[in-house]
Structure formats: C-alpha cells, structure tokens
C-alpha cells in the first residue's frame, strides 16, 4: 500500500524553541512538501499527528507540551528512537508573488516551511501571534526566510497587544496579496477565512482534527465529510466557510460531534 509504512528513526536533535515548545529532528529522506504531516509514535505512549516544521532530509516537527504524548516526546534525547508514518496529506502552494502568512500559537510550526520555501523572491509578510512573549517562536526564521514579521500577543508582552487577526486585517487593508497561508487555533482560522473572503484573497488554511489512522479510512478526522488526513490538512478558505463544523464542532475520540 502507498499508505505510509511505519519507519523507526533516531532523534538527531531536540531543541526548546520557547517555553514548552520543542522541535524534534530526525533523518528521513522521504520527499515532503510544506504543510504535510506525519504520524509520530512515542513508543509505549501514543501516536499523534504532527506537521513538519523542517522538510529536508533532516526533518523536524515542533509541538507544545500539552499532554502525555508531548510530555514523553519532550523528554526524549539524541539517539532515542521514535516511529514515524507518512508523509501524509496535501500541502501549501506558492500562488502569485505576494503572500501573507498568518500563524497563531503552535500553528506557526505548520506554515514555517512554506515561509522558508516561498518567501525568497516574493513579497512576504508574516503575522505571528501568541498568548504572551514566551509563546513566540520561529520569528527569526521567518525573517531569515525574507518575510516582514509582525508580532502580536494577547497580553501585549511582545509586539502589538491583541489578536493576530487584527494585525492581519490592517495588513490586508493597506496591501493586496495573492494568497494567505495560515494555521492556528480553529476559531482564529475561521476569522482568517472570513477576512480572506472579505478582502477577496484566496486562503490556504491548515486545519487540525483528532486522528487515528492518518490514511483516510477511520473517519475520525472528518470535517463535514472532508478527511483532514487525506483531503487536507490544507483547505481553501471558501471551502471551509461552507463547512458547518469549521470553527464550531469537532468529533471527539468516540466520534460524537461536540462544540469546539
């Protein structure tokens, strides 16, 4: 099957990007595109989907420590072995010559490789938001890629005080873009999709859902019938606005539809 054989890989490096946010690096020559994800198995704990924040032969994924699995992953070190399946899902596309990147929280990890790859030679602006200054990461990498970086925090401890979508709105008011590339909490992403629609700018939005199989059969990640693992994780903003569940409901592990 072409559906993602399990590979056991050795961790080559693990770094703390900011408070509680870690990047795990490993070597794997599978070809990957920006926005794609893998299923990461922390042996004996659980297997979870992770967007790739580095997509070369040296790959990496970046996560915030939230539960058992991410805690276990954060405690691993160089030489430790983990399982990876994939690469899965579709990817971001470079559209036109002007791109607005919008990243909220750890969502920045999903769009960073797109920024790396698409920014050189284009007009690129990156709006990055977090709850506070301790949650900002990859701002330097965005800048290095060639993007103008605008930072916002909910509490104003770094950059502008407020939501990243407010910054994005102001950018869109003064400048035209050919595409928006975004990832973050779903309520933020719904707002991004609305902004994109208002400013008539096509948006590529990376979504997140609870996943089991990663290969399009278990239906756990269904978003109004679109499978986030196989049809996504990147969807067109207009398509997402047409999904009743986007920004409103998700499926719980048992498959019940619950409010976000």
């Amino acid at each position: 099957m072409h559906t993602g054989k399990l590979e056991i890989v050795e961790i080559t490096d693990i770094t703390e990007e900011c408070a509680d946010v870690f990047t795990v690096m490993y070597r794997d020559r599978t070809k990957a595109s920006p926005g794609q994800f893998i299923m990461v198995w922390a042996p004996g704990v659980n297997e979870v989907p992770m967007s790739l924040s580095f997509i070369g032969d040296e790959k990496g994924f970046t996560f915030r420590v939230l539960g058992k699995t991410t805690t276990a992953l954060s405690r691993l070190g160089k030489g430790d072995r983990i399982g990876v399946r994939g690469v899965f899902g579709n990817s971001f596309r470079p559209v036109g010559s002007r791109i607005l990147f919008i990243g909220g929280g750890t969502g920045v990890a999903s769009i960073i490789s797109a920024a790396d790859l698409f920014s050189p030679g284009r007009r690129a602006v990156a709006a990055i938001g977090a709850k506070n200054r301790d949650g900002i990461f990859f701002a330097g990498r965005m800048k290095q890629a060639g993007a103008d970086v605008l930072i916002s925090t909910d509490d104003g401890s770094q950059g502008e005080k407020g939501f990243v979508t407010a910054v994005a709105r102001r950018v869109l008011e003064r400048e035209d873009f050919d595409t928006i590339i975004a990832c973050g909490p779903e309520l933020m992403l719904r707002r991004v999709a609305e902004l994109a629609s208002e400013f008539r700018t096509p948006a590529q939005i990376s979504t997140e859902r609870f996943m089991k199989c990663g290969i399009g059969i278990c239906d756990a990640c269904s978003l109004n019938g679109a499978l986030v693992c196989r049809d996504g994780p990147v969807f067109d903003g207009e398509f997402l606005l047409g999904c009743d569940d986007f920004g409103r409901y998700r499926l719980s592990p048992c498959g019940a539809r619950v409010p976000i």
């Binding site: 099957m1 399990l6 004996g44 290969i215 399009g216 239906d219 756990a220 269904s222 048992c254 019940a256």
Partner: protein
C-alpha cells in the same frame, strides 16, 4: 457496499461512498454506550494489507441516531446499521433502536477480533451466535445479517447457527487476528498488541470462507476481504457471494474505488460472456 468500520463515523463520508458508486453503506459498529477505542497506534500498513485495532470507537446508539437520520434523509441510499454488544439482550435492544431509524438492514458484528467481551469473543461460540441472531431477529423489523469471524476452526458451523437463529444473510469475513512487531523497538506496534488483518493478505481466506459457507447454508452470503478490483469481486461471486463489501481498498484508492470496481466487474462480465451477476454466483461450485 462500503464495509463496516471504514468511513462510517459521519453521514457525509458515507454519502461520499454512495456518490462514488457504492450500492450501499454499512455503518461503523454501534454499541450501547460511547466508546473511545484504543490509543494509537491503531493501524499498521504494509504492501499487502492493513492491520488495525481501533477498539470499536463509536459515539453510542443515542448519539449516532442523528447520523443515520441525516444519512437516510439526505442520501436516500441503502444503509445497513452495524451493531455490536456483549450478549443477546444488548443486541436485541440495539436491533430495536437501529431498525426504528429506518435502516435497510442490520449487520451484527459477531467478529471484531480485538475487543474484549464482544465481537469474535462471543461470535466464535455457535450457541451464542444463534442466541444473538435470534434476539436481534425478534427485535428487528428489517433483514438481519450476521458478520462472522474467520478466527475459528469452523466458520460453517457459525453460519449454520446464524441461519438457525433466523439470519437473513451471512457476511464473511471480518479481519484475521494478527499482530505486528517492530524489530527495532523490540515491541508490538499496535497499542492493543493484537489487531485484525485485512486487505490483499486475506482475500484467499475470505474466498475459502465464503465458499464453505455457501455449501452449508441456504441464505445469501455477502463477501468481504481483500476486494480491490472487479476480478476480485467476481471471484467472491463465483465462490458464492450474492453481494460484496469493500473496506481496506478505500485506504489505497479512496472512495472512487467503488465506481472503479463496478466498471471493472462489468468489463469482466462482458469479456467472459456473463449477462447477469446471478450467472456468476456460486459458479465455482459447479465446476469442481
């Protein structure tokens, strides 16, 4: 038809299978209470198939009602409600509720190979199979299909018991109990250790089971296990299946697999001079 356990959590995903040429869909197996299933890894895939131990995740009958109602209302397609329980009482209660939702049939999961106290743990006992089918049959107002396990010394005796209990059809097979070990991690891959094998790897087990069952009972047999192409489907029909379900191939080919298999099956029939599906059913028994 879409086999149970694949894309069966939401109405929209099952509608996709119908739109892509499935003649009907079988829902995820639904039990009395919500159930999260096992932790990941729940799947392990390889060239010839798939190993899974999902652990029967489902939102429970009460929550699932809205899925069936939406599916029936918006698709108008054939919907078979799959149910599982720990004994004949649970199967009876679920059969009653599920059939009240106007499904077109019930599939009794007597065969999940990796869940404790349900599935094949009760479905490999012929007496239990008869009791469960009888109870479901009594409480259901629609046809009842018994989905049997190949993890037994005689699937025919299970089929005979299901027929005695009043089953309207037999579905064979569910997955084959199996496991995967990661040599480099020196441990089982699936969080539940044991899972069910499906896909190309089990086609010949499925064919053998359907062939045996066809000779043992008088009710129709529905074949499932490793059907990827029209010719695979023809083999099941020739072994004695009157219809077939597709599961694992959806992972590899997406929901379009249904229309592809239909197209290939009709092309095969034309080439081999069959004018109806009926002419193929059980023909392999007359050639030996």
């Amino acid at each position: 038809m879409l086999a149970s356990g694949i894309l069966g959590e939401t109405a929209e995903s099952m509608m996709r299978a119908l739109k892509n040429g499935a003649g009907g869909v079988v829902t995820k197996s639904i039990g009395m209470e919500p159930r999260d299933g096992y932790l990941n890894p729940t799947v392990y895939s390889f060239q010839e198939g798939l190993l899974n131990a999902m652990g029967l995740p489902n939102p429970g009958m009460e929550n699932y009602k809205q899925v069936i109602e939406k599916l029936k209302k918006e698709s108008g397609g054939i919907v078979i409600g799959s149910i599982f329980g720990k004994d004949e009482q649970e199967f009876g209660a679920l059969a009653k509720t599920m059939s009240s939702l106007k499904v077109d049939g019930l599939e009794l999961n007597l065969s999940c190979p990796h869940a404790k106290g349900v599935g094949s743990e009760i479905g490999s006992d012929p007496d239990m199979v008869e009791r469960v089918v009888k109870s479901a049959r009594t409480h259901a107002s629609v046809p009842v299909w018994a989905k049997l396990t190949p993890n037994t010394d005689s699937i025919s005796s299970l089929a005979i018991s299901a027929e005695k209990g009043g089953a309207d059809a037999i579905v064979a097979i569910n997955t084959v109990r199996a496991m995967a070990i990661s040599a480099r991690l020196r441990m089982p891959v699936l969080s539940n250790r044991y899972g069910g094998l499906s896909g190309k790897a089990v086609k010949h087990v499925g064919l053998r089971c359907v062939y045996e069952i066809y000779e043992s009972v008088h009710i129709p047999v529905i074949g499932v296990g490793g059907i990827y192409t029209g010719e695979d489907a023809a083999e099941y029909l020739m072994a004695g299946a009157s219809a077939f379900e597709i599961g694992t191939a959806v992972a590899e080919r997406g929901p379009q697999v249904f229309s592809a298999v239909n197209r290939q099956l009709f092309a095969f029939m034309k080439k081999e001079h069959f004018s109806t599906i009926g002419e193929m059913i059980g023909i392999a028994h007359r050639q030996t």
